[in-house]
Amino acid sequence: MKKGYSLFWLIPLLVAISAYPVVTRSVIARESVFLILMYVTLAASLNIILGYTGYVSFGHIVFYGIGGYTAFYLMYKFGVHLIPAMLAGGVASALVALAVGEAVLRLRGAIFAIATIGVNEAIKSLVTNLAFLGGATGLFFNFKIYRSYGGAAKAIWFAYYLMAAVTIVTVVVSYFIKNSKFGLGLFSIREDEDAAAVLGVDTKRFKSLAYAFSAFFPGLVGAIFFFKAGNIEPDDAFHLIKSIEMIFMVMLGGYGTVSGPVIGAVIYERLKGILLVNPLFKNLHMAIAGFVLLLIVLFAPGGIVGLLRERFKKLRGVLE
């Protein structure tokens, strides 16, 4: 496979987007860029299992919730710093993915999708009942926690920088996975799993690893997001709608491509922002999102990147 050049414009683009609020010192811009970066990371990591491997992880938000809860609990109970807590959150998500994957990755197609919804709902109701995690009301930070970061305002900027770093790492990792032998194996599983197995791809190990990778980064994102929010509750952490948003972004941008999730996430955040601000569309944004998704599924299953690649052959090197 010929290596493409998408990283040459993706990384500068992400750095430029991340730098914008820092340069302007605008809090509003920071909030929306934070969301964009978060969406990019979530979409790019879902893409590893959904786009590369062809497994529809419908309840993928469960890993964001697990990472969020692990990190939040460590910070809340033991006063651990955000960075180790975040890494612990990511590792916890990846380990859960390995354990759960051992079982559910044996399922294929739609049954796998339903099973992942089941896993998300089961863990959500379990967390809702665990008293040490605050039950249905969740956990709240004491504001003293932000003191070691130089106050709440600085802590939020710190979370922002961390998110930008995580996003860039995720995109780079997703690029290298796609262009490695491992990625080639994943794509062969997507196209025909049985044939891949016959040809010597260790499908079981490949799928487990892909699932763990795609769970690790949402775990990091959950940790940062809930650190910044200051509280965590089961309905927020395991919200199925967020899972759907992730799938939406991957499909909009183009699944199985490196740049697709980035493009999809940026457009989705902008679109949502515009729709939510407009009084006429404020309450209709769900219906509109559904309509757009339907159009993509029916008429442009390759997403925006798919359309561009088809239209402009020369762009294929930079859009992969």
Partner: protein
């Protein structure tokens, strides 16, 4: 003792309604190999249809349910041609997302027009005393109706030409086409019937429990568990799965905290998917 009798009776009656809610999903899943993620949205539509007919025309949900059935078939067939027909042979991702976007559209419009305020239908039939436990008459009617609709579906699938065609398409679509079956029509009809049953279940459940536009989602998730429990393709399996769910919810809550019930349900879902994906009633 009375608590137990009441729990078991409620469990059976509720279980029948759950079963009916799941049958539509089961039919579509079995025949078209499509997991209909708009199932819950259509259950909610059925609830609202029943509610508005009761509110503005004063017609009891137990009569208007037949109108809901007819409207549901037409609505379902339209939905099939709008959202599914183009991708019916594409990989699962496409059909999952197509039905999900349908759900987003319905729930989005529903939230816009009906808001998410809870509503309820008070038919006011009173209750009867069974073995010392009081059971609302509406619950009993819902149970009976669920049985009747399941029986009707069974007769339709096994005794009529169209029903047999639906089963033929579910077994081998190419062979059915060679035998002169209009597969496009049959697929759209199967989807229509599945949607209609979802709406009927919603209409009936609305006479017992309060609801919002989002309530359908809860029943959709339960329906997944029921379908997996009962196995794909058989109306009876869905009914049995529904009964197990209903009993589980009503009897278990006497012993354990209510909050743990969903956890157990989804745990069962995942375990059954892993151990015996064809369902406890399904063939190997």
């Amino acid at each position: 003792m009375e608590a137990w009798i009441s729990a078991v009776l409620s469990g059976i009656l509720l279980g029948l309604a759950y079963g009916l809610a799941a049958i539509g999903l089961n039919l579509i899943w079995g025949v078209m190999n499509v997991i209909n993620l708009s199932h819950g949205a259509f259950i909610a539509l059925g609830m609202f249809a029943s509610y508005f007919i009761f509110k503005f025309a004063g017609i009891s949900p137990f009569i208007s349910v037949f109108l809901v059935l007819a409207v549901g078939v037409v609505l379902g067939m339209i939905a099939y041609f709008l959202a599914l027909h183009r991708v019916i042979l594409a990989p699962e991702l496409s059909t999952l997302l197509a039905t999900y976007s349908l759900s987003l559209i319905i729930i989005g419009l529903g939230t816009f027009f009906f808001t998410t305020n809870p509503r309820a239908i008070d038919v006011g039939l009173g209750s009867v005393k069974v073995f010392g436990a009081y059971i609302p008459k509406e619950k009993i009617l819902v149970g009976i109706y669920s049985l009747i609709f399941t029986l009707l579906l069974y007769l339709f699938l096994y005794k009529t030409w169209t029903g047999k065609a639906i089963r033929a398409v579910s077994m081998n679509i190419t062979a059915a086409k060679f035998m002169g079956v209009n597969t496009t029509f049959i697929l759209s009809l199967a989807f229509g019937i599945g949607i209609a049953l979802a709406m009927v279940a919603g209409a009936l459940i609305a006479s017992v429990f309060p609801f919002t536009i989002l309530t359908g989602g809860v029943y959709e998730l339960k329906s997944f568990v029921i379908c997996v429990l009962g196995g794909l393709g058989s109306p009876l399996g869905a009914l049995v799965g529904g009964l197990i769910m209903g009993l589980l919810e009503n009897v278990l809550t006497l012993k354990i905290q209510v909050g743990y019930v969903p956890f157990l349900e989804f745990l069962i879902l995942v375990i059954i998917l892993l151990v015996k994906p064809t369902g406890i009633m399904g063939k190997e």
